[in-house]
């Protein structure tokens, strides 16, 4: 009888011995790379019903975020503006543009424009815009350079570890209150983000929650 350990078997044993660890490593690397919000969420850019451009309105024309997202400083939720806000200007500006047909229709009928939602935290998370904006966290820390985006896209992962990494070291993001909605703000000459952040942190006694009940209430 021939030995069961002939040339081919040996080869297959070796192949299996190499493949199994390799497959596990690649699998883990793949999951780590793909099964996280950095991959699943970042870059999500739904097409919106109206070709509204933040790059034009918030960037080139320089309107403040709060003109449209008018409750962001006092409410947990940052509201997407009602059609009325668009019509403040667009009655007179580009009043007949086909790109704005849907806005005018919505204004006439009272049916809201069905914007597609970009950012969302799960329902079991408590998130509050006002506390962040009023304590000196700029929109740019969490939404990226919206004033350079033609269409808004998901810029940060909004995962729990991401929230926590800032709550542990808020000085890396804190800025003077008046600059919270200024996405292009840079620390003035002679100061660094760290030095300003540290000062704001001690001056206003900032203590971002790291205990579970802070965000899961």
């Amino acid at each position: 009888m021939a030995s069961p350990f002939n040339r081919t078997t040996n080869l297959w044993v070796a192949r299996v011995l190499v493949s199994v660890p390799l497959a596990s490593i690649l699998g883990v690397v793949g999951l780590y790379y793909y099964a996280v919000p950095e991959y699943t969420r970042v870059g999500y850019q739904p097409t919106q019903p109206v070709a509204f451009s933040h790059k034009l309105h918030a960037g080139e024309l320089g309107f403040s975020c709060v003109y449209c997202h008018s409750h962001v400083e006092e409410s947990p939720q940052s509201n997407v503006p009602p059609t009325q806000t668009c019509m403040n200007c667009h009655q007179a500006v580009k009043g007949t543009s086909p790109l704005l047909a849907q806005v005018r229709e919505s204004w006439a009928s009272g049916e809201p424009i069905a914007w597609n939602r970009v950012h969302m935290t799960p329902d079991y998370v408590y998130f509050n815009h006002s506390i962040h904006v009023r304590r000196g966290v700029g929109c740019v820390s969490c939404h990226g350079k919206v004033n350079e985006m033609e269409v808004v896209r998901h810029d940060q992962p909004l995962s729990m570890s991401w929230c926590l990494s800032c709550h542990r070291e808020p000085e890396k993001a804190l800025r003077p209150l008046a600059e919270a909605t200024n996405l292009d703000w840079l620390p003035p000459k002679g100061e660094t983000q760290e030095s300003i952040g540290k000062r704001i942190k001690t001056d206003s006694g900032i203590n971002a929650p790291q205990q579970c009940s802070g965000c899961h209430r």
Partner: protein, 218 residues
């Protein structure tokens, strides 16, 4: 051993080819790997409703009712006011009127804090059209908005505080009402700042304190 390596290489390449890299711009809804309790049977602000016929979670107030909330009432956002005027009966504060006439002076105490608040709110809400100094040359006027007046002409310098408040609240002509965006107290702060702007553009040397007149250049 070569086929094994090649298979893995191809698999990796195929995965990366199909899934791409982190941060790729795409239109697909973010994948929910473990949907846990992400979506609970509750209504979030500005979400869609299957219960109400018009599909809105946030209801519009029935005609004849007055919304109240925020600091007037119990909430996260500060101490409740001790004397909440839920019905908004105070004509002077909420409408800038006393009887039928507009009131001449704002019914709030005006200090530096109020003026700074007013400047901030003015720059956010009014400067796109009226310009930062109130000269009626905001950026939107370069794009087809006509008829924005300068605050520094005689008529607008003479109108009462109550009338400016009324314009912010209810709009006028091509200007839309801003009562939905700006709270009454902030509207008064803006009125105070508009007054300050008018002073600043029509100041004379007599307005400068005596000891600093030397610093003023004509």
């Amino acid at each position: 051993m070569r086929p094994v390596i090649i298979t893995f290489l191809l698999l990796t390449l195929a995965t990366v080819g199909v899934l791409g890299f982190r941060g790729r711009v795409n239109e697909n809804r973010p994948l929910m790997l473990v949907p846990d309790m992400d979506f609970q049977p509750r209504y979030n602000p500005q979400s869609e409703s299957v219960f109400f016929g018009d599909g809105r979670t946030m209801r519009t107030p029935p005609p004849g009712t007055i919304a109240f909330g925020g600091n007037d009432y119990f909430s996260d956002s500060g101490r409740p006011r001790l004397d909440p005027d839920f019905a908004q009966l105070d004509d002077r504060f909420y409408r800038g009127k006393s009887g039928k006439d507009f009131i001449a002076k704002a019914p709030i105490e005006i200090d530096l804090k109020v003026l700074k608040r007013g400047r901030e709110r003015f720059n956010i809400n009014c400067s796109p059209c009226h310009g930062r100094v109130g000269d009626g040359k905001g950026i939107v006027t370069q794009y087809g908005l006509v008829g924005v007046p300068s605050y520094h002409d005689d008529r607008l310098r003479k109108i009462t505080d109550g009338e400016i408040f009324h314009v912010i609240t209810n709009g006028k002509g091509l200007m839309s009402p801003y009562q939905y965006q700006i709270k009454p107290a902030d509207r008064w702060a803006i009125v105070a700042y508009v007054r300050a702007l008018q002073l600043s553009q029509n100041a004379t040397l007599a307005d400068v304190p005596e000891e600093r007149r030397g610093e003023v250049k004509p």
